[in-house]
């Protein structure tokens, strides 16, 4: 009887999965190309505002990032709810910007130092007081090229 069972068992034929690796590889390549490894772990909330007159930042290696925002919940007991500056992986004060810029400048080749841009990644709910302090500090350090990093979108999104 076993002979016949084989033929009669009306199982569906197995789906051919030979092309599955191809599909997965395709996705993989997309993400590999689109990925930018985050350099800094954010300790602050950082929802950027929107603007539509944006320009693209090129030369990723010549950008210094300054993050500003309210500390994330797990840091609030220690650092409070006021907007703070984050440089690299640490919370910082306005006074630390000087050393930060000097370090960034020292890590770049001399002929490229003039092209350094400071990208201000500021949370949209932060107030201008802290941004003004940062700008003052940047002017003192003669780091005059700045970029207010924003998402691309309509400014009406900023009101929410």
């Amino acid at each position: 009887m076993g002979k016949f069972n084989k033929k009669k068992s009306g199982n569906l034929p197995a789906i051919n999965t030979a092309s599955l690796p191809d599909i997965v590889f395709m996705l993989l390549f997309f993400f590999m190309v689109a990925t930018v490894m985050r350099q800094n772990t954010l300790k602050i909330q950082n929802v950027l505002p929107s603007a539509d007159q944006v320009e693209k930042l090129d030369k990723k290696d010549l950008i210094m990032y300054i993050y500003v925002g309210q500390p994330q919940e797990r840091f609030q007991s220690q650092y409070g709810k006021e907007s703070r500056i984050q440089l690299n992986d640490k919370f910082a004060d306005v006074g630390d910007i000087k050393a930060f810029i000097a370090a960034e400048r020292a890590s770049k080749r001399e002929e490229l130092r003039d092209y350094l841009t400071t990208a201000l990644k500021v949370d949209k709910d932060a107030n201008m007081g802290i941004v003004g302090d940062i700008k003052k500090e940047l002017r003192k350090e003669n780091a005059l090229k700045i970029n207010y990093t924003t998402r691309k979108g309509d400014i009406s999104e900023n009101k929410k």
Binding site: V36, S50, M128, R139, R151, I155
Partner: protein, 200 residues
């Protein structure tokens, strides 16, 4: 000679490997925003040089208070009207003689700016102003400049400045890049971005 085919490699686990990598990249991916508004800060000059005398009518004051309300030329204004107001001010061209502006389309109101080169937008904010409002205002002001520049480029060369800048960055552009850069420079001289910020 009997044709002997090579034994087939078992590729069954390929999908698993690819999945593993895929999940890794999925988790680590943050598509970073790399767009923004470029600005240049004014350098600090130690010598107290005499500030140049600027006529009141050539200054367009924008003030954002701590409650995110907008005061433009001492009048309350909604954000949506700012772009138009700034454009009207910049493009007014009310000057006469040496200050006359041959390419302005504005109303030539003698109580507003002389020409785009003299027109200065002065932006002031309070410490309590929210950053998003500040960015919105900056965006509107930059937009006013960009629209005027695009319009001028359209008149002179039949294409927008945005397109010209794109071409000048394009490695495959076939035209004369030197000439294109000169054209861009000319537009930027005709409508210079004079946006000054008041430092408290």
């Amino acid at each position: 000679m009997a044709k002997r085919s090579a034994p087939e490699v078992n590729a069954g686990s390929m999908a698993d490997i690819a999945f593993l990598l895929l999940i890794f990249f999925l988790v680590t991916t943050t598509i970073e925003t790399d767009t923004g508004l470029n600005r240049k800060l004014p350098p600090i000059d130690d010598e107290q040089t005499e500030p140049p005398i600027i006529k009141e009518k050539n200054i367009f004051t924008v003030f954002i208070n701590g409650k995110n309300q907008l005061l433009v030329e001492d009048e309350v204004m909604e954000l949506k009207d700012l772009r138009k107001a700034a454009m009207e001010f910049l493009d007014n061209g009310g000057g006469t003689g040496d200050d006359a502006c041959s390419y302005c389309h504005g109303k030539k109101d003698p109580s507003s700016s002389d020409n785009p080169d003299k027109a200065i937008i002065s932006l002031k904010n309070e410490r309590e102003t929210t950053y998003s409002t500040y960015i919105s205002v900056q965006n509107e002001l930059v937009a006013a400049y960009n629209i005027l520049r695009d319009r001028r480029a359209e008149e002179l060369y039949g294409m927008t400045l945005t397109q010209m800048e794109k071409d000048s960055d394009d490695v495959n552009y076939r035209g004369n890049k030197e000439k294109l850069k000169e054209k861009i420079e000319r537009i930027k001289i005709e409508y210079p971005q004079k946006l000054s910020e008041v430092v408290q």
